[in-house]
């Protein structure tokens, strides 16, 4: 049991040191960008479980993210169950709550729709995502179209950052370890050949629902963190474009590569920000134009994404060690 926590703890310490650097070395704007990068890392990894490893094409992750976001927004403004100095416990619990609610939604959406394949599944999940958004538009107690403002932050940058780091690691190690287990191989078998997997005794429906529920849980977590970091959410933060953005991160990084998802999440989130000076120079917003062109070129020139199916450790082994 102890050894299960060794690597995650070491990684957390590493991330914390990195965070201290950002805390003292950079301004608020960059710090906020870093937090959004972390949210997107979780979102991309969670979607990779469904899209990359299990081979089921979901376009509804914005909906699950929205559920987590709104739950956290509501609970952290309405429910005061802990004294002020123990707020971080309730914050943690509400984030878990957001994830669980999203997971339940994932189960309800996944059970009927995961029988469908390919584009059909994509469209149905997209439809569910949009329905969640429209439902939120019509819920007055959640602000309806006006959105939900004044969501409490998680304190200073450093404490927000630590919260996010903790969840990134939980997400990363959960998915990584599941993929090293027999269940993970079950997910892969569904992606590779459903009929063969069934014939070998794998309950493919259950596998798909499992992956989908786990994935929506983490999407809900990403949403919860997002709510704390922005302090204001509204239904248009969660349109299908947000889902598409998540898919782009997964494909760009490489389907079935967690390191790829992380690198792509950093790239996709930071890229428009890096291009901001260009906008000041030219006075037109060319960022998204360049972004979309990059995307098209990427798909044509490097169709398997940055990492393909490899992890960063494999890449190390394959190229660096060999040349040494």
């Amino acid at each position: 049991m102890f050894k299960a926590f060794k690597n995650p703890t070491l990684a957390l310490i590493g991330l914390a040191i990195f965070g201290l650097g950002i805390n003292f070395g950079f301004n608020d704007y960059i710090q906020l960008t870093v937090l959004f990068i972390m949210v997107n890392c979780i979102l991309a990894m969670s979607l990779n479980l469904v899209n990359g490893y299990t081979g089921q094409f979901s376009l509804g992750h914005a909906g699950f993210m929205a559920i987590g976001s709104y739950f956290t927004a509501y609970s952290s403004t309405h429910w005061n169950i802990f004294p002020a100095n123990l707020q971080f416990i309730s914050a943690f619990l509400f984030i878990v709550g957001g994830g669980l609610l999203a997971a339940i939604a994932g189960f309800i959406v996944g059970l009927p729709s995961l029988r469908l394949k390919g584009d059909y599944l994509a469209i149905v999940t997209l439809g569910f995502g949009e329905i969640i958004r429209v439902a939120l538009l019509n819920m007055d107690f959640l602000g309806g179209p006006r959105g939900y403002a004044n969501i409490p932050s998680l304190g200073s940058f450093l404490s927000s950052y630590l919260f996010a780091s903790l969840w990134i690691l939980i997400c990363l190690f959960t998915i990584w370890r599941v993929m090293q287990s027999s269940y993970g191989r079950g997910f892969l078998s569904v992606r590779e050949d459903e009929i063969a997997a069934e014939s070998m005794g794998v309950d493919t429906t259950k596998m798909k629902v499992r992956a989908f529920v786990m994935s929506s849980f983490f999407a809900g977590i990403a949403g919860s963190l997002f709510a704390h970091f922005t302090s204001f959410i509204n239904p248009s933060s969660f349109t299908y474009l947000q889902s598409i953005n998540a898919v782009i991160m997964v494909v760009l990084g490489g389907m079935g590569s967690l390191s790829g998802s992380i690198v792509a999440a950093i790239f996709i989130t930071a890229f428009p920000e890096i291009l901001r000076p260009l906008q000041e120079l030219t006075h037109v917003d060319l960022r998204m134009v360049i972004y979309s062109l990059t995307l098209i070129l990427m798909m044509i020139l490097r169709p398997k994404g940055i990492f393909g199916e490899l992890e960063i450790t494999d890449v190390w082994r394959k190229y660096v060690r060999r040349s040494a």
């Binding site: 049991m1 090293q180 287990s181 269940y183 079950g186 590779e192 063969a196 997997a197």
Partner: protein, 257 residues
């Protein structure tokens, strides 16, 4: 007479207006090595698909050890002990040879997802056992040295063997082999047949195979069913089949008078 392991009770498969298999009935006894032959398009693979639940028979039912498996999904049927290979090789292409076999052992895994997250003892031990078992099976077909290669990188003949290994890893009572020797040369075929005979002994298996190589079928099968246009036209021991007028007609066609 030994007990009946698998019985098809008048199974019919209808695709639109076409009856691919028409009220087919047969019994396979425990430990038997049975063959299913017939001209191209006779409906042999469709029979396999019905026995394994990939298709639900339009009529009739399949009985395994006295219990109907009607309405069960393929994975449930696999868990009850029917394993199969595929005629047009359906390996998990982008996974390693070892992973292909490990996936078939998943149905016997006892630990929960939580165990894998916390790296508990039951997880590590079960993983170790699964891998040992898989390697043992790969050894039977001399594939152990390829365990970490991608399954799609294997030569054709070895892919067919891997399909058999994968089916064996489910711990079946009966194994259905769909043209296991397709694409193999003469000596490879003989070697394969020896291996099939051996695994049947070692694992106390019942075998049903589809094969086009007549010499091979006649050489090892104890009981043969002949299918033509979805109907059973003959059944019996190799000697009887070889001399059956109906079988010869089915294969060569009847001269129009």
């Amino acid at each position: 007479m030994s007990d009946v392991l698998l019985e098809a009770k008048n199974i019919t498969m209808q695709f639109g207006g076409l009856k691919a298999v028409d009220s087919l009935a047969f019994k396979i006894h425990k430990g038997q090595l049975a063959g299913l032959i017939g001209p191209n398009g006779a409906g042999k693979t469709t029979v396999f698909n019905m026995l394994t639940g990939v298709y639900q028979p339009t009529e009739g039912e399949v009985i395994l050890e006295g219990q109907s498996i009607k309405g069960l999904k393929p994975f449930q049927i696999s868990q009850r002990g029917i394993a199969r290979t595929f005629q047009n090789i359906r390996l998990f292409k982008k996974l390693s040879v070892l992973d292909n076999v490990l996936i078939a052992t998943h149905q016997h895994v006892k630990y929960s997802l939580l165990n894998s997250l916390l790296l508990t003892k039951s997880f590590t031990e079960s993983e170790k056992n699964q891998k040992e078992k898989a390697m043992d099976l790969l050894k039977i077909f001399s594939l152990e040295s390829k365990a970490n290669e991608l399954s799609s990188s294997l030569p054709y003949g070895q892919q067919r063997k891997l399909e058999i290994v994968r089916a064996l890893a489910t711990d079946p009572k009966i194994i259905l082999l769909d043209e296991p020797a397709a694409g193999m040369n003469h000596s490879e075929t003989h070697q394969l047949m020896d291996t099939i005979a051996k695994i049947r002994e070692d694992f106390k298996l019942t075998v049903l195979l589809i094969e086009h190589d007549m010499k091979l079928v006649m050489g090892i099968c104890e009981n043969i069913f002949v299918l033509d246009h979805g109907m059973k036209i003959e059944e019996g021991q190799p000697a009887k089949i070889q001399n059956s007028k109906k079988v010869i007609e089915a294969y060569l066609g009847i001269e129009e008078a």
